[in-house]
Amino acid sequence: MGNRLGGVQPLRIALAQIAPRLGDLEANLTRHHELIAEARRRGTGLVIFPELGLTGYQLQDLAADVAMRLDDARLAGLAEAARGMSAVVSFVEESADHRLFIAAALLEDGEVRHVHRKVFLPTYGLFDERRFFAAGDVVRATPSRLGVGIGLAVCEDFWHMSTPHLLAMDGAHLLINVSSSPGRDLASTHEVGLGTAASWRTLMRTYAQLTTSFVVFCNRVGVDESLSFWGGSEVIGPTGATVFGAPMFEEGLFTADIELGDVRRERITLPLLRDERPELVAREWGRIVAGRAGLAEDGAS
């Protein structure tokens, strides 16, 4: 990868900030096809849909009814429709052994190029994901037709620092988080009037700066039951500066142009990833993991 990294062609990203219909796979599929076609008309190179954009979020026992295998013809249809572009879509994936995952897939060249299964399933407060879903076990970057490495993550995955760190160290230049983030906490002291939004905005800028990567956040809008999703999708540059911010609560296909060469420029200027010490991190983690499992030598944990 990297042959086009210093290229001068900007990459147009389309953020599909949609309001999926809960449990209505066919309606959502139709909406995806419409927006992929619109993204193409607008000269998009990468179109991104939010977490569970094909199914809606608050599925509970509906999860099994809307689950798809990776060889599902409907996924292949989306991949075919997006040919010539890169697309990220999210759905309930059923594995061969019938576990259900919250998945995000990168579709390129008419096929499913890479799948990320949500690793961190929030099961606290208003969330109950672990009851209905299995947790993914892999965090891995993937090469893409865009000539850069892509790191996929789903919502809560980014509330754990290890996720963006691993993705960047594994070769991602572009970190993509797809979310169904329910808005809450309207205290008037928050920067943008919503506690959830203020927290996410801080995270995105921090990760972009610390990984010297583009960070793309695609969050849904609309309502599932009690929950209102706040949108506010963003593109943050490798310096931590905002490239684009979509409005909160508004449905739409929003586009932003980025210079992929910014990653190289920033990493030369600020070589944080060069100076990372993965062997040290792995060694210390090994020690800590052993300690937490009760396997450490006396006094070591």
Partner: protein
Amino acid sequence: MSEVEAGTPAEEPMFELPPELAIDTGVARRVIAQFIRGQLRQAGFERAVLALSGGIDSALVAYLVAEAIGPEQLLCVMMPYRTSSPDSRGDAETVVTALGCASDLVEITAMVDGYFGADGVVGEGGAEALEASALRRGNFMARMRMATLYDRSVTWRGLPVGTGNKTESLIGYTTLFGDSACAFNPIGDLYKSQVRQLSAAIGVPERIIRKAPSADLWPGQTDETEAGFTYPVLDRVLFWRVDRRRSVDEMVAIGFERALVERVDKMVAGAEFKRQVPPIAKLGPRTAGVDYLYPRRRPGSARP
């Protein structure tokens, strides 16, 4: 907050807003409008109906619904009893006129008196019911209003919208299957102080914001004299206990009176049953609410 400072400096502020309870009213209105539209769409409805009392809670919900879907889609039903305050009726009519929404007037006097009796004439509830307490009568009235509202929801083809706030829900100052009955509630997570703040921001008439809150179950009744503390105090206790998870000892350290905190705690615990769906005895393989868990609205559930 500009709302708090509304009015000229010489005037009393419209209401007291504890600073920690202040919300961003612009964001609140956007979230609530999206919520109302989403609830209706998912259920296959375009219209809404609500019980308008003349008090601040139902006035605010009327404004929020009108803002979300347009006043022509809203029916406000006024349901006075013979002892209800004429002022309440007048305030309700002010809201209807200001919004330009549809309204209905349904007197519940005959329904209520038909059960409890009146002027010494025994009703369907028997002789004993003539002596019924104000509490029994108040609960019955709330349930007659609920029955009327749900019937009107059929003729208007609109979903009944809830108007209860978080404060009264937490302390249980509400009638089970009465005023709390609804298809969805846009303000059930707002404390009374926040209801006032949002009401001022959205333009609810000042007179309605300023008047003492009352269930209007008997002449001269007000919430605050009945409960023995003011809403700003109660809201603060609930906010720090419930939302901020402070222990009783921590509450005392912050400066709250222990007796007050313990009294509010008791009210909250005692009202838990009012906030939840009644339990079903678990007998079969899949039981609603236990291990049969579906969203209220899903494909096929919308009215055609």
